[in-house]
């Protein structure tokens, strides 16, 4: 089980309060699909993913990105119990969606990069370290029920 110090929790929640979840979610998922095009395999029914601008402007990508990041918000409210928080979603990603957990790590890192570009200097090495711990914890939690 991942343990977060009070400082790490503060680093995460203070930044999260300033994040526009809808925008950041769309950007994170969009960038995942652009930078790692093989991840598009899960989104055949999303319509036009033929270029970076098509992907970043795609309404289905934006909507789904918002969904994903909103769920991430739940993780932040439950940093001491990520496995419990994501148990059902983990089963879903394994049994119904068939997503390789490597994709969770890729998305987590893309999210960190987006936060860096939004927050600049404020996204210090220590703040990044707290977020890396969180995204790694979320990825592990989502993979936990795989069988």
């Amino acid at each position: 089980m991942v343990h977060f110090s009070p400082e790490e929790k503060a680093a995460v929640t203070s930044l999260w309060g300033k994040v526009n979840v809808e925008e950041a979610g769309g950007e994170a998922l969009g960038r995942l699909l652009v930078v790692y095009p093989w991840t598009q395999r899960f989104f055949d029914n999303f319509g036009n993913l033929s270029s970076a601008s098509a992907i970043m402007g795609n309404p289905k990508v934006k909507a789904h990105g918002k969904k994903v990041l909103t769920s991430f918000g739940e993780a932040i409210k439950n940093m001491d119990n990520l496995k419990g928080t994501f148990a059902k979603l983990s089963e879903l990603h394994c049994d119904k969606l068939h997503v390789d957990p490597e994709n969770f790590r890729l998305l987590g890192n893309v999210l960190v990069i987006i936060l860096a570009s939004h927050f600049g200097k404020e996204f210090t090495p220590d703040v990044q370290a707290a977020w890396q711990k969180l995204v790694a914890g979320v990825a592990t939690a989502l993979a936990h029920k795989y069988h």
């Binding site: 960038r31 890192n109 990069i113 090495p125």
Partner: protein, 142 residues
């Protein structure tokens, strides 16, 4: 995996901006690496790794200079980094997993310094470039 013409252009055009802050970027990427992935510090028992340390500054500058060499010979990165490749294979022997970690921290640093330039396409180009550099540096490992 190789860079498209457009990706090469993106990298070359961004490189001027990046190299103007080479020291800061190299130093910060390393600070981020050691903060997020403390296991990477095991390769530097001989360094003072506290933020602000001259060792960090010196080494960060070195790393970015080497990336600059790769950018200047972007059509032949393997040639440009041949000596560094041997160094990593026979002397340093840094486990290959760590190149991904440093690459990620370099991307984070560049994104935080140049958010407007770091579009999704630029992100792709840089991710690919660093991935190629990492392959070259581990090419002679076995």
């Amino acid at each position: 995996m190789s860079l498209t013409k457009a990706e090469r252009t993106t990298i070359l055009s961004m490189w001027d901006k990046i190299s103007s802050q080479a020291d800061a970027i190299g130093t910060q990427a390393l600070e981020r690496l050691f903060a997020s992935y403390p296991q990477t510090k095991t390769y530097f028992p001989h360094f003072d790794l506290h933020p602000g340390s001259p060792h960090l500054h010196m080494h960060g500058t070195k790393v970015v200079a080497a990336l600059g060499d790769a950018v200047k010979s972007i059509d032949n990165i393997a040639g440009a980094l041949a000596k560094l490749s041997e160094l990593h294979a026979y002397i340093l022997r840094v486990d290959p997993v760590n190149f991904k970690l440093l690459s990620h921290c370099l991307l984070v640093t560049v994104a935080s310094h140049f958010p407007a330039d770091f579009t999704a396409d630029a992100h792709t180009a840089w991710d690919k470039f660093l991935s190629i550099v990492s392959s070259v540096l581990t090419e002679k490992y076995r």
